[in-house]
């Protein structure tokens, strides 16, 4: 059925976008932590500092916001169906 095909295709495409976005955001945050350590030179060991920072990042809401990649298009499609057929 056409709906299943669209859903499957959308899931694959959005998954690629999700993986790309979340990986590049993680890498950018890691770079930021390294730079931070280089600038501030805290007493903590560099690797431990970065590891700690990444654990805090994973626990925070920021990586979960990328799930919006799945939610947003579904909302847009629902809005478009409403505007096209029920307005």
């Amino acid at each position: 059925m056409a709906l299943i095909r669209v859903a499957a295709l959308g899931f694959v495409v959005l998954s690629v976008i999700y993986v790309l976005l979340s990986f590049s955001a993680r890498a950018a945050f890691r770079r930021k932590l390294r730079r931070e350590w280089d600038d501030e030179r805290p007493t903590q060991d560099r690797d431990a500092f970065v590891k700690q920072g990444m654990e805090d990042y994973d626990a925070s809401i920021r990586p979960k916001l990328f799930l919006g990649v799945y939610i947003l298009p579904v909302c847009v499609v629902i809005l478009m169906i409403y505007l096209t057929n029920f307005q």
Binding site: A2, L3, R5, V6, V77, M80, I81, T84, N85, Q87
Partner: protein
């Protein structure tokens, strides 16, 4: 090589422009003069310009096609088809073609008592291919010269699209400068070094030949 590259990109963007012009929504102000249904036998090429059967029906070689006859303020006629796009391409998610046909009947008006409506549609009318733009919906407007406002959807869509293209292009350039260009330069340096070695060997051979020459 440079000409082929330019030709390729010009062709690519021309194709993209016509694709966008076909697919993105536009509005026409028209007077509906009637509706009809014709039996349509789809041929191989022009099949491309029609949507699939109504959501919930199955595909056959031919089927009925709803048409909406209209007249524009300048007297020209325009015929729209009225098909579900369903879950297929282009993603208008239109399921209500029967309702649109009923609205078209509702808005149809005679000369002298014109009821002007804006038809949101996509697609092209081409009599040679027998293709019609697909009407998405109607909106009652004041007159044939009513202001339709800015095409917000198209503005947002095209801005986002070209923003994405620029972002990818910029990253690709950076990637090429960092990873691919050094390799090509390396290979070229290798060729240059080999060329130098060959020419120096040549000159050595020549020097050896010269030793057989009579000393002047």
């Amino acid at each position: 090589m440079q000409y082929i590259r330019w030709g390729f990109w010009i062709l690519f963007w021309l194709l993209f422009a016509s694709f966008a012009h076909y697919t993105l929504p536009q509005n026409d102000i028209v007077r509906v003069t009637g509706t009809e249904v014709i039996r349509k036998d789809f041929s191989g090429f022009s099949r491309l310009f029609y949507a699939q059967p109504d959501a919930g029906d199955s595909e056959a070689v031919n089927r009925d096609l709803r048409l909406i006859n209209t007249t524009q303020a300048n007297g020209r006629v325009m015929v729209y088809r009225n098909e579900d796009t369903g879950w297929g391409w282009p993603p208008y998610f239109k399921f209500d073609s029967s309702n649109v046909q009923a609205e078209a009947s509702e808005y149809s008006s005679a000369r002298g008592q014109e009821q002007w409506v804006a038809v949101r549609h996509y697609g092209w009318r081409n009599p040679f291919l027998s293709i019609y733009p697909n009407a998405i919906g109607f909106r009652v407007v004041d007159g044939p010269n009513a202001n339709l406002g800015l095409p917000w959807f198209n503005i947002i869509f095209l801005t986002t699209f070209f923003g994405l293209v620029l972002a990818i292009w910029y990253r690709w350039r950076r990637f090429r400068a960092a990873r691919i260009d050094p390799i090509i330069e390396d290979v070229q340096d290798g060729f240059d070094a080999a060329g130098d070695a060959v020419s120096s060997r040549g000159s050595r051979f020549k020097r050896w030949l010269d030793t057989w020459r009579a000393k002047s």
